[in-house]
């Protein structure tokens, strides 16, 4: 009943904003992240002359690759209304197993396959336990965080794996001027975008995240969608782990700590709602770029890493506040 008036006032609202063109909430929801990204880039170039150099921009891209890969995967999870806090540990496990296989076999292909397979396996376990036992994804992936980290420390005895030969090409090599890792990212961004926008699977991810009961009543099996999304997320963790370990040219069992935080921040800053049902891959990538540029400029300005942590924490809080606030502004307009 109140919805009927909603359409009316919605129309009036739309008309009003067309005329006045100053409705902040609407503009933010539509273009917010792009505007913020451009603003931060302008600010960064003013603050540091090094920012716009080719060397630095390539560096930003290289640094942003790992978090962007994680963020693409976890976008599916967050649209589903779930969460994965085990990204960093799983990344380390996948990356270290890949480097270990590299040392054992000398084959880059086998190393990549092994790393990715570990990602598939952890994703499958996360997805299965969450859907089968009806456990909150936060708790399950929290458990996975310590299990994966423990496993990788156990496997390596805590010391890094070195002597990786050709493995470093993935993270350090370039094809012409473009880093190979950036090409890998582009490929997976396109894959994620296509999956989310062009396939039944993607549509079901939105539907299950938006209303699980209605999805079930439409003949969708929500559990299978959740498990598939966690497997996809695991694959992206695996690839991110391989890229990271290759870039630093060693299997670091303590690598990737806190990366889940950067990835989730990127997704939320990119406009994906933690309530589920809405969100985009393009938003996530812009979100990851925003985080990357902020990290970069803070480094260029020699801001202490302690301050960097505080600033990143504030960014995620502000992004969520803006999300909730612009949504409630829209709802208030309707009431």
């Amino acid at each position: 009943m109140s919805i009927e008036t909603a359409t009316k006032s919605e129309k009036q609202g739309a008309k009003a904003s067309l005329l006045s063109n100053v409705n902040f909430a609407q503009i933010y929801r539509k273009y917010g992240t792009v505007l913020i990204f451009i603003g931060i880039c302008i600010l960064a170039s003013l603050l540091s002359p090094t920012f716009l150099t080719e060397a630095n921009l390539t560096n930003v891209l290289r640094q942003v690759v790992v978090v962007s890969l994680l963020a693409c995967g976890v976008t599916f999870i967050i649209i589903l209304g779930h969460i994965d806090v085990s990204l960093g540990s799983v990344l380390a496990l996948c990356g270290v197993i890949a480097t270990s296989v590299m040392v054992m076999t000398g084959s880059v292909v086998l190393a990549v396959c092994a790393g990715t397979a570990v990602g598939v396996l952890t994703g499958l376990i996360n997805g299965f336990v969450i859907t089968f036992f009806r456990i909150p994804s936060f708790i399950m992936t929290l458990a996975m965080t310590t299990v994966a980290r423990g496993a990788v420390l156990l496997y390596t005895g805590g010391s890094p794996i070195t002597g990786l030969g050709d493995f470093k090409i993935i993270g350090q090599g370039s094809l012409g001027p473009v880093p190979i890792s950036v090409l890998i990212l582009v490929a997976f961004v396109i894959l994620s975008w296509v999956l989310l926008n062009k396939t039944k699977f993607g549509r079901y991810v939105y539907a299950v995240g938006g209303n699980e009961r209605a999805s079930r009543a439409s003949g969708i099996n929500p559990d299978s969608i959740v498990v598939k999304a966690f497997i996809l997320n695991g694959i992206l963790c695996g690839v991110a782990g391989i890229v990271l370990m290759s870039r630093i040219n060693s299997g670091q069992p303590a690598g990737g700590v806190g990366y889940e935080f950067d990835a989730i921040t990127a997704v939320v800053v990119g406009g994906t709602s933690l309530m589920g049902g809405t969100g985009t891959i393009t938003g996530t990538i812009i979100g990851a770029m925003i985080i990357g540029v902020i990290n970069n400029i803070l480094n260029l300005l020699n801001v202490s890493s302690y301050w960097q942590q505080i600033i990143k924490g504030l960014i995620i809080a502000i992004a969520v506040i803006l999300d909730v606030w612009t949504k409630s502004a829209r709802n208030k307009k309707k009431a």
């Binding site: 919805i3 296509v194 039944k200 079901y204 209605a214 439409s218 969708i220 099996n221 809405t278």
Partner: protein, 516 residues
């Protein structure tokens, strides 16, 4: 539509000691709907006043006004000889009225005592820090005292979670009584408790009456009405119909007052050829919910499933559609027994269901109209791996045109449409599929008259195309206008079957209330 029975002539003084509660000309509108229209209610102290009316007559809106949830648009409320203005009404009512809700909302992980004293816990001291500490000893002792007085054998420190539904209902009753109110509202208090507990409740009601407490009692059960009532007020379509002492009423008189409206604004089903039995339900049961349900639906036929809320109609539909498990019985489609374990199975067999709660089970509100329309039929637009957006868009636009859904585009977020248009989207979801059976649960609930008659027209159209339609509706005019056959359910069983010519408001209501 006139007042009946021994309503005493009152002097309309500002305050009247004869009544603990007097409501005059209460009007409450929601956008598009007038829920209450000049409703009157007078309750004498120390009496049980039974409020009756069909589903949707406005009883719960009236009770929500009394419990301070809604403010009134027009009218006057006198409570304990005091006129309440719109501002102070909520607070005043809160102190003098306690309500036993039909839907239980206990805090499951707290003890019985903690639930009973929730929000008014006794404290160790009255002032300062001491007033922040809960006195659990006193709380448990007082609860135990209440239980002993009522002859109940529960322990005050039992976790709510460990109680049966019936026991929770009893705790809710104890909670309401313990608040020492001068008016207690009981909204279908016996819906979940057994006969012995019902007699305990009636004993409590007698004690409350003896102490001068008034009770507003809402129920659909005929035998209960005449067992417990001192006075009866009948309401219909948000309006006051009649009031009088229980002795002036008979069952027949009560039913005729409840349903006695003229049928209008209904687009009756046209005659279409009726074919073979498509869906047949044989001795289907779901333990504790409904038992031994038999029904058939033929091609081109609309079968109305009538009954009061809680009679088990939706539950039967949920089993047919695979949302709930079936414990016993057979479901046949075109004569062949089928197994339905999930909605996916049902849809594969050509059975679709439009849920009574379109926001919870029908739509993904945060997604666009087009995506919602194609959700159940995406396979049709995705021959290979990818969805053909063009085909999807064309199909969605065809549905929008066919069903006259008012939306600026397929990209509009479903949440922004009116209830009637949302309901049409839910219908549109199923139409591109190869349907044999369509289950409609309250297909026109909460939507405007125009959309309503459009949906009724569509239903005839679907039947003409050979669909077997099972329609659940709590609106009698809709049941009578649209059904070729009416099955009436009461308390989890099929109480009777009526042909189109046999079905009248009275005959349906008699079966639904367990009357004879």
């Amino acid at each position: 539509m006139t007042s009946v029975g021994g309503a005493p002539a009152t002097s309309f003084a500002a305050a009247n000691d004869e009544y603990v509660l007097e409501m005059r000309g209460i009007t409450k509108s929601f956008p598009g709907v007038r829920a209450l229209d000049g409703m009157n209610l007078r309750v004498r102290p120390g009496s049980v006043h039974v409020l009756v009316g069909e589903n949707g007559a406005g009883k719960s809106t009236l009770m929500k006004i009394l419990s301070g949830i809604y403010a009134i648009d027009e009218g006057e409320i006198f409570f304990q000889a005091e006129r309440l203005d719109h501002q102070n009404a909520a607070a005043a009512l809160e102190h003098g009225i306690s309500m036993i809700h039909q839907e239980l909302s206990p805090v499951l992980d707290m003890t019985i005592a903690e639930n009973i004293f929730l929000g008014r816990e006794p404290t160790i001291g009255r002032k300062g820090v001491l007033a922040s500490f809960v006195d659990f000893t006193q709380m448990n002792a007082e609860t135990q005292k209440l239980f002993e007085a009522l002859g109940l054998k529960y322990s005050a420190d039992t976790k709510m979670r460990d109680l049966s539904i019936a026991a929770m209902q009893l705790v809710e009753i104890v909670k309401a009584i313990s608040r020492a109110a001068s008016l207690v509202i009981m909204d279908e208090p016996t819906s979940a408790i057994s006969d012995t507990e019902v007699s305990m409740l009636f004993q409590q009601i007698a004690d409350l009456k003896a102490n001068g407490v008034a009770i507003i009692y809402i129920t659909h059960k005929m035998d209960e009405i005449f067992q417990v009532a001192d006075d009866i007020t009948v309401m219909r379509d948000g309006q006051f119909i009649a009031t009088g002492p229980s002795s002036s009423y008979t069952e027949a008189k009560l039913i005729s007052q409840m349903v006695g409206r003229t049928i209008s604004s209904i687009f009756p089903k046209e005659d279409v050829p009726i074919g073979d039995v498509v869906l047949s339900i044989e001795n289907v049961s779901r333990t504790g919910v409904f038992e031994d349900v038999n029904l058939t639906v033929r091609a081109g036929e609309i079968v109305g499933l009538a009954g009061l809320i809680g009679a088990g109609r939706t539950e039967v539909a949920r089993v047919i559609f695979g949302l709930d498990k079936c414990d016993a019985g057979t479901i046949r489609l075109n004569g062949t027994p089928i197994k339905i374990g999930s909605p996916t199975d049902a849809i594969r067999h050509g059975i679709a269901m439009v849920s009574e709660d379109r926001t919870a089970e029908g739509l993904v509100l945060c997604r666009p109209v087009g995506e919602n329309i194609s959700l159940a039929n995406l396979k049709k637009f995705a021959a290979g791996l990818f969805i053909s957006k063009r085909q999807e868009e064309t199909a969605a636009k065809r549905m929008i045109k066919l069903l006259q859904i008012k939306t600026p585009s397929t990209e509009m977020i479903a949440e922004n449409l009116s209830g009637g248009n949302q309901q049409k989207i839910v219908l549109a979801k199923w139409l591109p599929g190869d349907l044999k059976v369509l289950i409609l649960d309250e297909p026109t609930r909460g939507i405007d008259v125009g959309s309503k008659s459009e949906i009724h027209k569509l239903m005839t159209e679907f039947a003409r195309q050979g669909l077997a339609i099972l329609m659940i509706s709590s609106e009698l005019p809709e049941v009578l206008g649209m059904s070729d056959r009416v099955m009436v359910m009461s308390e989890g069983r099929v109480a009777g079957e009526l042909t189109r010519s046999e079905a009248t408001q009275e005959s349906v209501m008699r079966l639904a209330t367990g009357g004879h």
